[in-house]
Every structure is written in structure tokens, then in C-alpha cells.
């Protein structure tokens, strides 16, 4: 009877590392980071804050007044207007004098998104060949200063 001998030194050792579980762990980490991740909101509309010095006159007659109603409706120099029409309205008025003040006067209850919509339209002015260099937002502090200076708020009476 022949006895088959196992050849010595020919044992094959499986040298491959098992990486299946690595993928599992990595996917668990992916799920964790996906659930906890917050995408950074680093882009938006640039706005220059006004000088905190007291107002020095002017009652809004030489400026363009954009009023934002509580429901987001717009009045531009007392005329109802859609946001998309603002730039067309401003083009002839500001092309010669980009420093002409454009005062955005939002109602206290107007949503912030409607204010952003107006500023977004103003930011699009350079695409139409002119720029709006002097945008002001009537904040509560500015309105209080107007009231102190004029004894009334001229922005509220602009369209009367």
C-alpha cells in the first residue's frame, strides 16, 4: 500500500487580511457623520452696516424708498411693484448717481425672507449696468432716531 505523504514546506498560508468588517465600521461612521453634519452656510448677501453716528438730515425725498409690507408686498416710491421690477425702476434713477440712497423700510412683522428678496434684487443691479452703492435698512434704532430728529417717522408718511 502506498502512503501519500503530505509534502513538507508546501503549506499555503492565506495571507489576505479580512477587510469586510472595515467596510462595515466605515459605513457606520458615514451614517453617524451624515446624521450629525450641518452644512456650513457661508454664502449670502453682503450688507454694509451704517455708520452709528446720528443722522444729519434728509427726509427721504431725495432717495428711493422701498417699503416691505407685513405680507411681503412691495411699494417702491409708493407704487406697488414686484421684486423683479425693482432693478428696472432703479436703472434710470441711479445710473447717473449710484450714491443715491435706497432705503429699504420693512414692516415690523414682514418676514426676513422678503427683506432678503429685495436685497437680492438690488445685488443684481450690476448685471443691468449700474450699481446701488448706498442701501440702507430702516432698523428700529434708525426709526427711533428719525422720530427724535423730525418728531415723526418720515418713512411712514412718505406715501401719504
Amino acid at each position: 500500500m502506498k502512503i501519500r505523504k503530505r509534502p513538507l514546506g508546501r503549506l499555503s498560508i492565506d495571507a489576505e487580511m479580512k477587510t469586510d468588517s472595515t467596510g462595515d465600521v466605515a459605513f457606520l461612521l458615514v451614517i453617524f457623520f451624515m446624521l450629525t453634519a450641518t452644512f456650513a452656510a457661508t454664502r449670502g448677501i453682503e450688507f454694509g452696516l451704517p455708520d452709528p453716528s446720528p443722522i444729519d438730515g434728509g427726509d427721504g425725498r431725495e432717495s428711493v424708498l422701498i417699503s416691505v409690507g407685513p405680507d411681503g408686498t412691495l411699494l417702491v416710491d409708493c407704487e406697488p411693484m414686484a421684486a423683479s421690477e425693482i432693478v428696472g425702476y432703479l436703472a434710470p434713477r441711479l445710473s447717473r448717481n449710484p450714491n443715491k440712497p435706497v432705503i429699504v423700510h420693512p414692516h415690523e412683522e414682514a418676514p426676513y425672507s422678503s427683506l432678503v428678496a429685495v436685497l437680492d434684487e438690488l445685488a443684481a443691479a450690476p448685471d443691468r449696468g449700474f450699481s446701488v452703492d448706498n442701501v440702507q435698512i430702516s432698523t428700529p434704532q434708525i426709526v427711533a432716531e428719525y422720530r427724535e430728529y423730525f418728531g415723526r417717522n418720515p418713512l411712514d408718511e412718505h406715501c401719504l
Partner: protein, 152 residues
């Protein structure tokens, strides 16, 4: 008679998973990097076409809402110097104090306003006043990019 039994061989159907792990690790690195945002408040940002990038070191002012009940007049105010995690502050007064301290060392520091689009303008105006009085000069109002195919 001895029956011959067929020896069963396990079919070699192993799927190589090495590349799966590689891809998953790339995703882990990606999410770990974007998780570096100092403020994690979930805010419904307004939309805009204009997308100006804020400075990398811009301080962050958050006006948001937490909890299920939405009281528009009572937002949560948070402040971050742009590096450390944002912390709740006591309304516009607290914002003014934090912003003032920051501007003492860096007067040109930009602010990134991360505010909920539903917030009344009265509240936003208060925030802008606080930053103005603290000596701030530049604000980037954080928005999400308007969908070009969406409603106008």
C-alpha cells in the same frame, strides 16, 4: 454496493469588499471635514441668487428657533467668534456685548448672520442695530442658493 456520493464544493462567490471600505473612508473624511462648522443650529435660511462668500474667520450670529412650538417673537440668539462653538446669548444686548469684545481686537471682523427666513424684520433690525452699535461694518446675510428652475 457502495454508493458514490458527490462531494459538494462551496462556490467561490466572495465579493471583494476592499474598495467598499476605501470609498466609505473617503466619505467619512468628507463628513468629518464639513462637521467643522462652529454652529450647528438648524435654520430655515432665506433664498437668494446672490452668493457672496463670507470671510473664513467671520463671526457667526444666529437667530433661530428651537423646539416644536414656533414663537416668532422669541427666537434663540447665538454667537460664535467663528472658531469656538456658538453659545446662546441674551438677546440683542448680549450680541452687542459679544460683538463689541470681538471688535476690540479685530475692528474689521465680518459677521455672518444666520437667521431664519420667517423671523420678523423687527427682530432682524434689532440684531443689525446691535452689531452697528458694537462697531461692526460688514454683514453677510447667509442664504441658500435659489433654485434656478424653481418658482420666482
Amino acid at each position: 454496493m457502495a454508493l458514490k456520493t458527490r462531494t459538494t464544493h462551496a462556490p467561490a462567490c466572495r465579493i471583494p469588499a476592499t474598495s467598499v471600505a476605501d470609498i466609505a473612508f473617503l466619505l467619512v473624511v468628507f463628513f468629518a471635514l464639513i462637521a467643522n462648522e462652529p454652529d450647528r443650529t438648524q435654520v430655515v435660511l432665506p433664498e437668494s441668487n446672490a452668493q457672496v462668500a463670507a470671510a473664513e474667520n467671520a463671526a457667526i450670529v444666529v437667530v433661530g428657533y428651537e423646539g416644536e412650538q414656533l414663537v416668532l417673537d422669541e427666537p434663540v440668539y447665538k454667537f460664535s467668534d467663528g472658531v469656538t462653538a456658538s453659545e446662546i446669548v441674551d438677546g440683542p444686548t448680549g450680541l452687542r456685548g459679544e460683538a463689541g469684545r470681538l471688535l476690540e481686537t479685530d475692528p474689521a471682523r465680518q459677521f455672518r448672520l444666520k437667521a431664519d427666513g420667517r423671523t420678523p424684520c423687527r427682530v432682524i433690525g434689532g440684531v443689525l442695530d446691535a452689531l452697528t452699535r458694537a462697531g461692526g461694518t460688514q454683514v453677510v446675510m447667509a442664504t441658500t442658493e435659489k433654485d434656478p428652475g424653481g418658482a420666482p
